[in-house]
């Protein structure tokens, strides 16, 4: 299960943040980043994301060979209620998608690995960035799994945020439905 999920809008502002840190984790040890820190984090990610594409080595620029960009589909099965799957908003079937998909983030940062956690970034064609922070303690979660999860969150975003008449674009997301659906989705992992 990821530690946190962030949504960054196309101008680099943090519009959604949710922490999934387990309660039993040593609470005194963890210095929680303040909301200001998280805003800085989001804009740092946004700006370094752009720099990364300018740093492409000359050897790759000379090659001109397109790199494979397809992300394989990873099914996410809820072990608790296998039989009747709840409806997925406006998506039909028992999963949001069932085929490998294109990664639109071709030259920007995809993941940052540190001693404690790994940050994964999924970017949509419209410039929205979904960020997941995964602790290094969980070894089952890799880049493909996180990309699949983040694309599902993007599906949730398109359902519960974009179709909300009270939501103004690029502003912080304050949708109860989005919140609970995201929570359920992340818990499956």
């Amino acid at each position: 299960m990821p530690q946190a999920v962030l949504v960054i809008n196309k101008s680099g502002g943090l519009i959604y943040h949710r922490d999934f840190e387990e309660v039993e984790v040593e609470v005194e040890d963890r210095n929680k980043p303040s909301s200001n820190d998280l805003l800085i984090l989001a804009s740092t990610l946004h700006s370094t994301f752009a720099i990364a594409s300018q740093l492409t080595p000359k050897a790759i620029q000379l090659q001109q060979q397109p790199l494979p960009n397809l992300v394989p589909y990873v099914p996410m099965i809820d072990p608790d209620n296998l039989v009747p799957r709840k409806k997925l908003g406006s998506f039909k079937g028992d999963d949001y998608f069932k085929e490998p998909f294109q990664n639109w983030n071709k030259s920007g940062i995809r993941s940052i690995k540190t001693d404690q956690f790994t940050v994964y970034i999924y970017q949509s064609l419209t410039g929205l960035k979904l960020v997941a922070m995964v602790s290094n303690r969980s070894d089952t979660i890799n880049e493909t799994v996180v990309n699949n999860l983040l694309r599902r969150i993007y599906c949730l975003y398109s359902d519960y945020v974009m179709k909300d008449p009270f939501y103004s674009l690029e502003m912080p997301i304050k949708s109860e439905l989005f919140d609970t659906k995201l929570r359920n989705l992340v818990k499956q992992l």
Partner: protein, 159 residues
């Protein structure tokens, strides 16, 4: 092609060594300490610096949360920092997950041997105040260092 370029930054934010390979077929191709790479070096240092400060801010526990690698869609950056403020950066492709041992070896067996233990080599590559804060231009030009680094890294260019 497994490794694309290698960079060393000192504690004054200066790039003191850079090596870029351009052709996988020829291990001696590319540039060493080139003037053209100055801008790239600054961008690279700035990116690693801001991501490092960001990850340290959101870390938990008493230990420092150092950045290990940054992956983009096309290449991967591996970072190894020493307590003295040196930064060893290696840009590679995706075939190998971790280059930590490689960077550690470069630091402890090549940098320390040929630069730190060398009386004729400057131990600090910024001569005066004007060359700190990324304004420096001095590079490691030590022949032994360049040669042994080259022979150590050349098997990794084509992997």
């Amino acid at each position: 092609m497994a490794i694309y370029s290698f960079w060393i930054f000192d504690r004054h934010c200066n790039c003191i060594f850079d090596r870029e390979w351009t052709l996988s077929s020829n291990s001696s191709s590319g540039t060493v300490n080139s003037k053209q790479n100055e801008e790239t070096a600054k961008l690279l240092y700035g990116m690693v610096f801001s991501l490092r400060s960001m990850t340290q801010k959101v870390s938990s526990g008493p230990l420092k949360n150092e950045i290990k690698s940054i992956a983009t869609g096309k290449y991967r950056i591996h970072v190894y920092c020493t307590a003295s403020g040196l930064q060893f950066v290696l840009i590679t492709d995706f075939k190998q997950q971790s280059y930590t041992e490689v960077l550690q070896y470069i630091y402890s067996h090549i940098y320390v041997k040929y630069v730190a233990h060398n009386l004729f080599s400057a131990y600090d590559f910024a001569d005066n105040k004007n060359e700190t804060r990324g304004q420096g231009f001095r590079k490691i030009a030590n022949r032994n260092f360049v040669q042994s680094l080259e022979s150590f890294l050349s098997p990794m260019i084509v992997q």
